[in-house]
């Protein structure tokens, strides 16, 4: 088995001169070309621009000597605006949209020496948990091609899992980085709300949205977060809180760390293999000197209902801008109202319409107090649960997803079942807290390839979720890094990554 290079290895090779950025970029483009037809991780591949940029970096090696991402190929979820490169949010309504500006994260990645190689597939407007809601077809899980990669940042997770790029960026509103990271066996980080600028991220739920990296390791995510984090004049919700040296925080030392486990929450509805793997991972932290503390999150069971009331309300407002006037699709020129509704009928897929409808309803006169206001009050109680827990513990550990990746098509007709896949991730978004998913095992059941299965215990990837205090990404990254030092799960790569 061959583990694809990490971000840190790739960067070090470029900085030391052992490899050229052009050579690494060509390799990434070749991997994409070989594996993308069966995985559909990327919508758009910007090969020419990427090679030009790589040559620039090779030509100015001295200028990029201290660049944290020198020569690192990166894939961006297709809801992050890229100047001059089509940005669709996987929606027909933006099929031909070419932003005239870069998102702040893109500007910062560029300055750090990263090379953007393309735009990755996702659920339409990031609404979904499987990437099946993409108007351009689903992405496939590299561990089992008949299964979903998770979502909504599915393409970004697939790109890293299949060894196409060592780094990609996704966005989260309710688990859309962590859940596909868990299902594809890679590392995913959802920063604290406000840690990373949202400028240039096509808005879904403005009080929940956050951009974050997907990588092979906690160290790689720490490096990437350091590049994109920090205040931004273009986003008033981007925090002025000081940006820590996240990579320096990875000491391997978790002695005395208090890890809270909400065991009662995990009693029902969690796949047996996932529960076993997560409990084993928590034992590994104990063996390294952490203390395990049982905690209660009494309102966590309301996180999904609260989320679908708050997020759909915000989505119905945010998506009002897609009206056929300033950008994107336009249908029916003859009359203004018909143009709005015709454009939106043609341009949006079923899940986006469903959420706009729900959000419109819960915000409408007579229902606002019963749904939206009530949900925001319960959101307060979810926040208080975490605040109380963090008086006794330093981090909270639980599964990322209660279920392993399901088969493509299996849940599309039942949106409610699909929503329940986010049961353990949405509360961190509602509370604004940082959280990671780190690979912690595989399910025993499904073995697509018996020979490969024997080497990795068979089956589908499982993720351990670690949630931290607001703006304390350092502690969850340190814990995940310590766990990676004791385990080899992060080194596993699907067969398709070596073909």
């Amino acid at each position: 088995m061959n583990t694809p290079a990490t971000l840190a290895e790739t960067r070090d090779a470029v900085v030391s001169g052992a490899r050229s950025a052009v050579e690494i970029c060509r390799e990434a483009l070749a991997r994409i070309e070989a594996a993308n037809p069966s995985l559909h991780a990327f919508h758009t591949v910007t090969a020419e621009r990427a090679l030009v940029r790589a040559a620039e970096i090779d030509g100015n090696r001295n200028a990029f000597r201290g660049a944290p991402l020198a020569g690192v190929p990166v894939g961006l979820k297709d809801n992050i605006c890229t100047n001059g490169v089509r940005t669709t949010a996987s929606s027909r309504i933006l099929e031909s949209f070419v932003p005239p500006y870069d998102a702040t994260v893109v500007t910062r990645l560029h300055a750090a020496g990263a090379i953007i190689v393309g735009k990755t597939n996702c659920d339409e407007f990031a609404m979904g948990s499987s990437t099946e809601n993409s108007a351009f077809g689903p992405s496939r899980n590299p561990w089992a091609l008949d299964r979903i990669p998770g979502g909504s940042s599915g393409g970004s997770a697939v790109a890293v899992a299949a060894g196409m790029t060592p780094l990609s960026f996704g966005s989260e509103t309710g688990g859309s980085i962590r859940q596909p990271a868990a299902m594809c066996g890679v590392f995913g980080l959802k920063p604290t709300y406000g840690r990373v600028s949202r400028y240039g991220l096509l808005a879904f739920g403005s009080s929940l949205d956050q951009i974050g990296p997907l990588t092979r390791t906690a160290r790689d995510a720490a490096i990437a977060l350091g590049v994109v984090a920090g205040a931004d004049q273009a986003d008033s919700t981007a925090s002025h809180e000081a940006v820590a040296d996240y990579a320096a925080a990875l000491t391997g030392d978790v002695r005395g760390l208090r890890v809270g486990v909400p065991s009662r929450l995990l009693e029902t509805g969690v796949d047996a293999d996932i529960l076993r793997a997560v409990n084993t991972a928590i034992e590994a932290l104990r063996a390294r000197g952490a203390t395990i503390v049982d905690i209660e999150l009494p309102h966590a069971k309301y996180a999904i209902p609260v989320y679908y009331l708050v997020a759909t309300a915000e989505a119905s407002s945010n998506l009002a801008r897609y009206d056929g006037v300033r950008y994107g699709l336009r249908d029916r020129q003859n009359e203004l109202d018909a143009m709005y509704s015709g454009t939106r009928e043609k341009g949006f897929g079923a899940e986006v319409k469903r959420r706009i409808m729900l959000g419109t309803y819960v915000l409408s006169a007579g229902y606002y107090d019963a749904y939206y206001l009530k949900a925001q009050q319960v959101r307060t109680l979810i926040l208080r649960d975490y605040a109380q827990a963090f008086e006794r513990v330093d981090i909270v550990a639980m599964p990322t997803s209660p279920i392993p990746p399901f088969r493509i098509g299996e849940r599309v007709s039942d949106p409610l079942q699909m929503y329940l896949a986010d049961v353990f991730t949405v509360s961190a978004n509602l509370a604004g807290l940082p959280a990671v998913s780190v690979p912690c095992g595989f399910t025993k059941r499904v073995a697509p390839n018996p020979a490969a299965a024997a080497a990795r215990e068979g089956g589908l990837p499982i993720g351990l979720q670690l949630i931290g205090r607001a703006f304390d990404e350092a502690t969850i990254l340190r814990t995940a890094d310590a766990y990676e030092r004791d385990t080899e799960w992060w080194k596993q790569a699907p067969p398709i990554a070596n073909r």
Partner: protein, 107 residues
Amino acid sequence: MLAFAMPTEFTRAQVEAIAELAHLELDHSEVEMFARQLGAILAYADQVQQVDTSGVPPTAYGVGPHSADRPDRVVPSLAIEDVLANAPDSERLRSGGGFFKVPRVIG
């Protein structure tokens, strides 16, 4: 406790009324589908009614707000031609300005 009736299924008329508010024009099968699904999703979401929230303030943002104060300075913004480039229909003025074009609103 708020007294209100939770529909487990929406009527076609209700779905069409919501769609009109949202500027969505649904076809027949979508109206049927949403009548069924929206009712089921809302019935699930209705669990929040079980929670006693008396005296609990609402939360709009989990973290923040942050101070958004900044000096009121004129800084460069996007070029008009770049902004209009994505518009389905637009016109540039000789003066350098420009506008988006929409179907006639006033007869």
